[in-house]
Symmetry: C2
Subunit: 231 residues, 2 copies
């Protein structure tokens, strides 16, 4: 279930910024884009409708984490919007993840966040009081996510092999924070290049500033797409 288009993180504050960015691409280039909290909270559902009408695929990255009933009804809203992928926090529990699937329906891809890629092992132990290794916690949540019937997880590429081993080869691993060699690290504590992610078996990669803030975003996109597909 590998997606050969790098998912572009539209880390823009407004719909106008998104329109200007997407206009740089030829109309027949159908992209896979990620819309996060900042943009969705500011622009509302209109931003998803706009991007879908252009024929692009949308990963709506809101990381839902609430009681089961609330997550089910919120997912129904996202399903009606026609999102292609969205996500929840595995920490919400199997009951909440099943409610998410029920609300979203079978069509869209539903993945879970295990531990945020900005979480270090020390923080997980001191703060969340989870006395295992970070990898054990990630794999544990991945297994529970598979049990709940979701498609996969958000994870660092370092964790893909262990996760696939503990679940199955079709279990989707989406890897955020991908940067070409030499790019700035930002607040991701565990980062990787497109080529590495490909070697390690990620199914989706998410790339933000290395494309959206490039001098020539279309060229940067194609360059990263080539690295991701080993061309």
């Amino acid at each position: 279930m590998r997606e050969n288009r790098p998912v572009i993180a539209l880390d823009f504050p407004t719909l106008e910024d998104v329109k200007a960015f997407l206009a740089k691409f030829p109309a027949d280039e159908k992209l896979y884009v990620k819309i996060g909290m900042e943009l969705y909270y500011a622009a509302g559902p209109e931003i998803v409708r706009y991007v879908k009408e252009l024929g692009h695929s949308v990963f709506l990255d809101l990381k839902l984490h609430d009681i089961p009933n609330t997550v089910k009804s919120a997912m129904r809203v996202l399903s009606n919007l026609g999102v292609d992928m969205t996500n929840v926090h595995a920490a919400g529990g199997v009951e909440m993840m099943k409610a998410a699937r029920e609300g979203l329906g079978e069509g869209p891809i539903l993945i879970a966040v295990t531990q945020l890629t900005s979480t270090s092992e020390e923080q997980m132990r001191d703060f969340q009081n989870i006395q295992t290794t970070l990898q054990e916690s990630v794999v544990h949540y991945a297994q529970k996510t598979a049990e709940a019937g979701l498609n996969g997880v958000v994870c660092s590429a370092h964790e893909v092999a262990k996760i696939k081993e503990a679940t199955n080869q079709d279990f989707v691993c989406l890897t955020p924070g991908i940067r070409p060699a030499g790019a700035a690290v930002g607040d991701q504590k565990r980062v990787m290049t497109p080529d590495d992610a490909h070697q390690i078996g990620s199914d989706y990669i998410v790339v933000g500033r290395p494309i959206t803030q490039a001098e020539d975003p279309v060229a940067a996109y194609h360059d990263i797409k080539a690295q991701w597909n080993d061309q």
Copy 2:
């Protein structure tokens, strides 16, 4: 810092439903309402602007849980909307909670979810792999929330005394899932009446269906408000 108006959970799917509900109240009755994921994801920021323009106070209950940078920029959006209160998951960590405060600014009340009120101790141990009691986890997260400089937490009324003891008397405790004696339990595992919550020291209570689905919501609101304020 006690709020004498029960916060009404606007668990409606659309802006039109909210308009019809709020129109039942006299124009000079300024309410405190909660807008959750379902409604906000469906209606977008317009719903907050509409309710604020009527002069009501808004708790935007989106339970943000993401990497620090994303939470900071998302909170800036919510601050610009003029929300009176919003929330994050304490499990996101002190760094994320400080970023939330920075993005939101000092004005609005910022509280954290410790453990969802629909989470049982068994689920916390098996699923989240936290090998303490539920109350120990809640108090631990509450202390970290206070350390991060937030105003308080969402918690079940059963936990208020322990939380205030472990933090301070001004630390805000908001209690959801409040139901007058005899009302249906829904998916909250730990529920309580307005009067009990008052005795136990909650600072805010949230009431949903017992008001929004009452024959006469205005009467139900005033009845619960009286119980909450021991009149």
